[in-house]
């Protein structure tokens, strides 16, 4: 295990002082969280810098439990002469609310056994990223984008290089203390191309990670941005029908989010979840196995404790299609008389298949390869969804013409039973880590 940097002492004292001030003002319990985030970025366009940004933001957030009542407040005004009256006003505001017997800090036993695994949140080499290096990377992405075949179709290339470092400290009046420092680094390219019919399709690609070394080579990001945009040329819609859908691993988050939101205890308790009362039931095909996994080194959603301070642990969500657990926070857990698990997602860990995306496309034979969604929505109460899509037709097992201006619709409970393929390729630039997914018999709207 490597030694981890600690947050500044000044930080701890602001949070501790805020807890003391709130208790003095009449709160019975308090949680305080202070965070500081530095973000630096360069945006580059068509041969020159478009924008450079640099900022540091600081904020203090408090959860207040006053005479059986609850409020949460935050401020970026950390002048000591401003914090005291802010807290006093916040406690007074809390007193005006109705009592709520379900509000309390978590049971402190849930703070115990916090994992100690090094999750590699912060790159010790953070300071090595300089303004000159960001600019060179941004330029290199554009150069790579303009190096591909048919580059004369390119109208504009925008690239960006950004990084951030955040420090956070959290303390509660019932014994929780936790902190973390993390870094992240991102590269992206976005390319607009000229189509014959006047359309100017835009596509892009990105890479990133918690460490500078995760950025990798900027050239593939640039080339892929341009190639993805050029592949959109000539896109159109095809006839409406029921077809096989192969979902690009990088686009999966939208679909998966619509399945996860109804797992929230708040949705269950407020009767806005089509998954209410379905624990132990078959929701998806046997291929649907997903767990919430907070302990993945360098994972974007990784954590040792959640937003309430609960020690992080793996939470199986679906196993072989069967619903196993909900996301239960302290408050709605009390309302539902369910033990808390965690109130928020971390990373997803999928039961992976053995096939690559190309193999799944070949196996599908005929269908639509969906690379992105455009608008639409999914109704968490009923599970009805209707989403705009773009992608490519799959003909004889290979990608054919690009499609756009089309839509898919159905209901979630039916959709996940139609899952017939799961790839071996979790998308690494998102905490959802979704692999390529294949669904049979999905309703598409087009012409």
């Amino acid at each position: 295990m490597t030694a981890r940097e600690a947050v500044p002492e000044e930080f701890r004292s602001i949070a501790h002082d805020a807890v003391d001030a709130a208790l003095k003002a009449g709160a019975q319990s308090v949680a305080a969280r202070i965070a500081k985030v530095r973000e630096v970025g360069v945006q580059w366009r068509d041969g020159q810098i478009e924008q450079v940004t640099e900022s540091t933001t600081r904020g203090l957030g408090l959860s207040l439990y006053v005479d059986g009542r609850f409020a949460s407040v935050s401020t970026s005004d950390l002048r000591s002469e401003a914090i005291q009256p802010f807290i006093a006003d916040a406690v007074a505001m809390t007193r005006t609310l109705s009592e709520d017997p379900f509000r309390a800090l978590p049971d402190p036993t849930l703070y115990a056994d916090r994992p100690t695994l090094d999750l590699e949140f912060a790159d010790p080499a953070y300071g090595a990223m300089t303004a000159a290096r960001r600019r060179d990377l941004a330029r290199a992405i554009e150069d790579a984008a303009r190096s591909v075949a048919k580059a004369d179709r390119i109208l504009s290339v925008t690239t960006s290089v950004s990084d951030s470092r955040s420090e956070m400290f959290r303390v509660t009046s019932n014994g929780f203390e936790g902190e973390r420092i993390d870094t992240s680094f991102w590269l992206s390219g976005s390319v607009t191309v000229q189509d014959d019919d006047g359309r100017r399709p835009e596509e892009g690609d990105t890479s990133g990670g918690r460490f500078i070394s995760d950025l990798g080579d900027p050239l593939p990001v640039g080339r892929s941005s341009a190639e993805r945009a050029l592949a959109r040329l000539g896109a159109g819609k095809v006839a409406s029908g029921v077809m096989t859908l192969v979902l690009d691993n990088r686009a999966g988050g939208r679909f998966v989010g619509a399945l996860l939101s109804p797992l929230a205890a708040s949705a269950i308790q407020q009767r806005r979840s089509f998954l209410e009362g379905r624990a132990g039931q078959v929701i998806g095909s046997p291929l649907l196995s997903v767990a919430d996994e907070p302990l993945i080194p360098r994972g974007f959603g990784s954590r040792h404790f959640d937003g309430e301070g609960l020690s992080a642990r793996r939470l199986p969500l679906f196993e072989a299609g069967v619903l196993k657990n909900f996301y239960v926070d302290t408050y709605y857990g009390k309302k539902l008389r369910m033990p808390p698990t965690t109130g928020s997602t971390s990373n997803l860990d999928w039961g992976l298949g053995t096939k690559s995306q190309a193999e799944l496309i070949a196996e599908a034979g005929e269908g639509v390869f969906v690379t992105g969604f455009l608008g639409g929505n999914s109704n968490g109460t009923t599970g009805d969804y209707s989403l705009g899509i773009q992608g490519f037709m799959i003909r004889k097992g290979t990608l054919a013409e690009p499609v756009a201006e089309m839509n898919i619709s159905g209901t979630q409970l039916d959709l996940w039973k139609r899952l017939v393929g799961v790839g071996n390729d979790p998308y690494e630039y998102s905490s959802m880590r979704t692999p390529t997914l294949v669904f049979e018999g999905v309703s598409f709207a087009g012409v």
Partner: protein, 489 residues
């Protein structure tokens, strides 16, 4: 329609006296030295955007107002511009040293000799008053707001036995801004905002449905009149209960009639974003190079303005300190004017249109919409519905999105009806509609005379920044567009 009021922004106004930000230690010296640092490396233009925002949220759930949220933001953003290039930095510490450091950071966008900074500053006077409020939201006690929520809750439950859950969110905000730029101009505004959402869940025959009704305005407590609250309860319940009778919309291309009001989401997505001048300056919008071209029928007129009194999308000045009037996007079917901020206006050699907006001091301004709507046309609503043999009527929406370059856009329909043989028949629900901006503009072949500006709490997202907007439209017919319903085979 009234012409845009004139704002005096020359240097004849009073010199800088006390401002809202005096209490935070912001004085003429701080402004002068920060701008001087901002221009220390050859920037052509610089501005400071000070903001103090106090926001509250009160939530009613399970019968009582049992949670509240309060947020305070204080900070200043420093922008330095050279040509099309921007340097931006902000700080939440308004001390002289901290603001100067942010200015020096933003200054690095330019690499040259120091540019002259203003020595004297003048307040802009004669600002319009589009959101006169008797009492600022940060001075309204919670006790005065809470009965509104509990009253709505009781009335919603009493409307229908099928209602199982009611959620109500009341939000209010006071945002004070001060903009000082390198011409010596200083502008100050205090911008109120309030939103009220009522959402309910109902159960009937083992089925469950949920829907929401919301209103928003830059107004004070008087916005919540009895009539408005009556409409709110009735609409929230009706829009929920009708979903039990709804059928799935069909899939494929068909005529779609958009009801007056919230259907303005079509304009926001199909043309509004594409007309934001930054995309056109970069050549990345489908509307680039189309100014002066015929894009729609001669009875189609689309505008973006920020002057409607109390509207969510209205502003006395934009976030660059520029006057806000009305911009004609489409005039008699011809594409007329882009939405400009200072940078794009300079690029195109035109006057800024007052569309430079930002989410907060944490962001550089961008060309953004305010209130986007279509002017009334020659047709009647009844005539439009009667003209459709088989299609859809849409009245209530939740969200939309657009691809600026390809022009494809969507909007999600929460409530509507099938049109069969010229009549509204079965209700429909939860269907996305997808089209292409310029193609759909061509397909608008009937426009009614019943323009309605929607009062919903619309928020527009762009480049990670959210700003409040309004939208509206008369009843219109789109001759053909793809409806994302269920396909039979």
């Amino acid at each position: 329609m009234t012409p845009p009021p004139s704002i005096s922004s020359d240097l004849k106004g009073p010199t800088l006296g006390p401002t809202y930000f005096t209490a935070f230690g912001v004085d003429e010296r701080l402004i002068r030295e920060a701008l001087s640092d901002a221009l220390s490396q050859g920037g052509e233009y610089a501005d400071l955007f000070f903001q103090h925002r106090v926001a509250h949220n009160f939530v009613l759930e399970d019968g009582s107002v049992n949670r509240a949220f309060k947020g305070t933001e204080l900070g200043v953003g420093v922008r330095v511009v050279k040509g099309d290039q921007t340097g931006y930095a902000f700080t939440e510490d308004l001390s002289l040293e901290s603001v100067r450091e942010a200015a020096r950071t933003a200054a690095t966008i330019a690499e040259g000799a120091r540019t002259g900074a203003p020595q004297r500053f003048h307040m802009t006077t004669g600002l319009p008053s589009r959101y006169a409020t008797a009492r600022r939201w940060d001075n309204v006690r919670p006790e005065d707001k809470l009965p509104l929520l509990t009253g709505l809750n009781d009335r919603t439950f009493s409307m229908n036995d099928a209602i199982r859950k009611v959620n109500i969110t009341f939000a209010d905000e006071m945002s004070a801004i001060l903009i000082a730029d390198s011409s010596g101009r200083v502008v100050e505004d205090i911008q109120p905002m309030t939103l009220l959402y009522l959402s309910c869940v109902a159960e009937k025959n083992g089925e469950r449905e949920q829907n929401t009704y919301g209103v928003a305005a830059r107004q004070d407590m008087s916005f919540y009149s009895k009539d408005r609250l009556d409409v709110m309860v009735r609409e929230a319940v009706d829009r929920t209960m009708i979903l039990f009778d709804a059928v799935q919309a069909p899939a494929g291309e068909m005529p779609v009639v958009l009801g007056a009001g919230a259907s303005g989401i079509l304009l926001h997505e199909a043309i509004g974003h594409g007309m934001e001048a930054d995309f056109n300056r970069k050549g990345t919008s489908i509307y680039a190079d189309k100014i002066g071209r015929k894009v729609a029928q001669p009875f189609v007129n689309i505008v973006d303005e920020g002057t409607q009194e109390g509207a969510r999308g209205s502003i006395n000045i934009d976030d660059e300190g520029n006057a806000v009037g009305r911009t004609n996007l489409v005039e008699n079917g011809v594409l007329t004017t882009y939405l400009h901020d200072t940078i794009s206006a300079k690029h195109y050699g035109v006057k800024p249109t007052g569309n430079g907006r930002r989410e907060s001091y944490q962001f550089a301004p961008l060309p953004r919409m305010r209130s986007t709507y279509m002017l009334p046309g020659p047709h009647k609503k009844e005539e439009i519905i009667a003209s459709v043999k088989k299609g859809l009527y849409c009245s209530n929406f939740t969200n939309g999105q657009v691809q600026i370059g390809a022009g494809d856009f969507t909007f999600y329909v929460k409530n509507g009806y099938l049109i069969e043989d010229g009549k509204l028949t079965k209700p429909i629900k939860d269907v996305n509609i997808i089209g292409n901006g310029p193609k759909v503009l061509e397909q608008i072949d009937m426009v009614a005379d019943d323009l309605t500006i929607d009062q919903g709490g619309w928020t527009c997202g762009k480049d990670g920044q959210s700003v409040p907007v309004s939208q509206g439209i008369p009843t219109v017919r789109v001759a053909s567009i793809t409806v994302g319903g269920r396909s039979e085979r």
